[in-house]
Amino acid sequence: MFQDAVLGKSRLAFQRLGVALPFLVILGLVATAAPTLLEPSNIGQVLRQSSIVGVMALGMTFVLISGRVDLSIGSMLSLITMITIDLHDRVGPGVAVIAALGVGLGIGIVNGILVGFLRLNALIATLAMLSLLQGATMIYSNGRDLTVAAPGETWFAFIGRGQVYGIAVPILIFLGLAALLGFLLHKTSYGRRVFAVGGNETTSAFSGLRAPLIVASTYVISGLTTAVAALIIGSRVMGAQTNTGVGYEFEVIAAVALGGTSFLGGSGSIAGSVIGVVILAFLQNGLLQMGLPYYLQWIVSWVIIILAVWTDAASKRKKVLV
């Protein structure tokens, strides 16, 4: 706890490097085994693939810094994608996009009320929401997958498939949101409040901050980023499946944790999360390109994540008094 607290801000730069460093070494090794990994076209592809987890990781960073966690994002992703695709053909892409953001906002508010205002345990409350939203997805779609009837004729395709100056739109959305939310988290008084509430809720309340509201707001951000991720995935696939988001919550949390955001709240950064996301995506892609069977990919990811976090923890310890 001590270390996390101390390193919360002052040594963030170092800390981030701490995680990235062993990864770069490992990535180098992976790249020798799979030379195609570092081809420019592949790099672009991996970055684009990482954008869905990435966008959600941005929201999760806020939630974790405020000292909470959001496990509901996987199911939320499924539900919002389903609604978006359904409305796309029934009402039109514009309404679909607005509805997606609206639903993300709404679920974020519900999560926020449960965890922020009613003070329910975040882990279990959002686990419950995970189940609830999965059910809602099934009810909404009646268990069916949905697809866009004419994927070639909608501007909606631009979100997930478009390119601007040769850069895929999802990457632009990811990096743009990262810049925006990074600014919000690190440069505004709101962001400062999030750090304060996660660092010490009582002190925040004593300082006149509305801790419940701030906690709730992080869930709203998480809901909105999940909605954006749903737009990307919906547009990329031009369809929605009931299992679209299954398991995403753990991938997102792993990426954010890798980026140095503490589970105890009060420390972390958007830049760290971006690095964590990108690292994880390259690792997954590299292992796949090495031709490892899936189970070996899982085992190797396990070992590498532990090694990276361990190296990081060890380097932190050396730098800190006692």
Binding site: S131, I299, I305
Partner: protein, 335 residues
């Protein structure tokens, strides 16, 4: 607090008072441990709604289903009280099940079981080591482990399920003592041991100390690191128990056994009133949480809630239970 008794005559007086005192005591207890109220409410509700719910067959059924993830909750209660968490338990269950069954053709019955349990223990030790000696947060250690250990199970067993080749294994899994499954009894026995350990042994009392005030425990000379590592080992061992018990009951094993059970197990522990912030909790109440979730799942099946709505209902019920829990069990501020 005040007794509601109105003594009518000398004869009934004692008993009324006694009853009132008992009621008050139950009321107080229920306020502290509301999970039993939820459980009672669920049992009453489902009994009224389904004629089959309260049958001996079904109740022993619920107990068996509870045991499946209940094993995991026992170890997790210990760990959560000491302010740690173990997300690998589901994957460990799958791995242990595969080892115990997959090695039967070459090693017989007992050695593979021992190897399965040993693997759980070893992974627990590894998790504990990483948390304590490498100083990584247990959530991250076990989140990464969750995937990796699943990989180990697939690497060992392949994708397909493996049949148990030794009949005794299956017979043990299907064994009933009276009307109750031996596995359920094993679960209850381990739970009782867990209760004993937490309540009456040095290890148990020190568990509370570590979760409640780690510095104090260190200063008092408690070997905290060793303690926590042992805690993870216990959790791993119990997870292995869970997997092997499931394999015995189903006469087969596959890596996907126990997948996602960590969520159920943790939810049961939290519903039982154990706080994730550590330092407090009781294992009997974890039993309440486990039974509540098992009854809920079984009960929704018995009253024919449409499949999609089961997910919604369980999610909603969990939130409601959590809500009432925070309303009921607000402890007075410490003086």
């Amino acid at each position: 607090m005040s007794a509601v008794s109105e003594p009518i005559d000398g004869l009934g007086r004692d008993s009324t008072n006694w009853a009132a005192t008992a009621l008050t005591a139950i009321g107080l207890w229920a306020r502290r441990y509301p999970v039993w109220i939820f459980l009672a409410a669920a049992l009453v509700f489902f009994s009224l709604k389904s004629p089959h719910f309260l049958s001996v067959f079904n109740l022993s059924n619920i107990l068996l289903q509870a045991a499946f993830f209940g094993f995991l909750s026992i170890g997790l209660t210990l760990l959560i009280i000491s302010r740690n968490i173990d997300l690998t338990v589901g994957s460990v269950a799958g791995l242990a099940a595969c080892l115990a069954v997959g090695l039967q053709p070459s090693l017989g019955l007992w050695l593979p079981i021992a190897i399965g349990l040993g693997a759980g223990l070893a992974i627990g030790l590894l998790n504990g080591f990483l948390v304590e000696r490498a100083g990584i947060d247990s959530f991250i250690v076990t989140l990464a482990g969750m995937i990796g250990i699943k990989g180990l199970a697939f690497a060992f067993a392949g994708e397909e399920s493996i049949s148990a080749s030794i009949d005794l294994f299956n017979e043990l899994g299907a064994l009933r003592i009276g009307r109750i499954h031996a596995i359920a009894l094993l679960f209850l026995a381990l739970l009782a041991i867990g209760h004993y350990v937490l309540k009456h042994t040095k290890y148990g009392r020190e568990t509370y100390a570590i979760g409640g005030n780690r510095t104090a425990a260190v200063n008092a000379g408690v070997r905290v690191s060793r303690h926590v590592i042992i805690g993870f080992a216990i959790s791993g061992l119990l997870a292995a128990f869970c997997g092997i018990a499931m394999a015995a009951n189903m006469g087969a094993a596959m890596p996907a056994f126990g997948l996602g059970y960590e969520g159920w197990a943790i939810a049961a522990v939290v519903l039982g009133g154990t706080k994730l912030s550590g330092g407090s909790g009781r294992i009997v109440n974890t039993l309440g949480g486990v039974l509540l979730l098992a009854s809920l799942r079984n009960g929704l099946n018995m009253i024919h809630v449409p499949a999609y709505y089961v997910l919604v209902t369980i999610g909603g019920a969990l939130i409601l239970a959590l809500f009432f829990d925070t309303q009921f069990s607000r402890k007075p501020r410490q003086g």
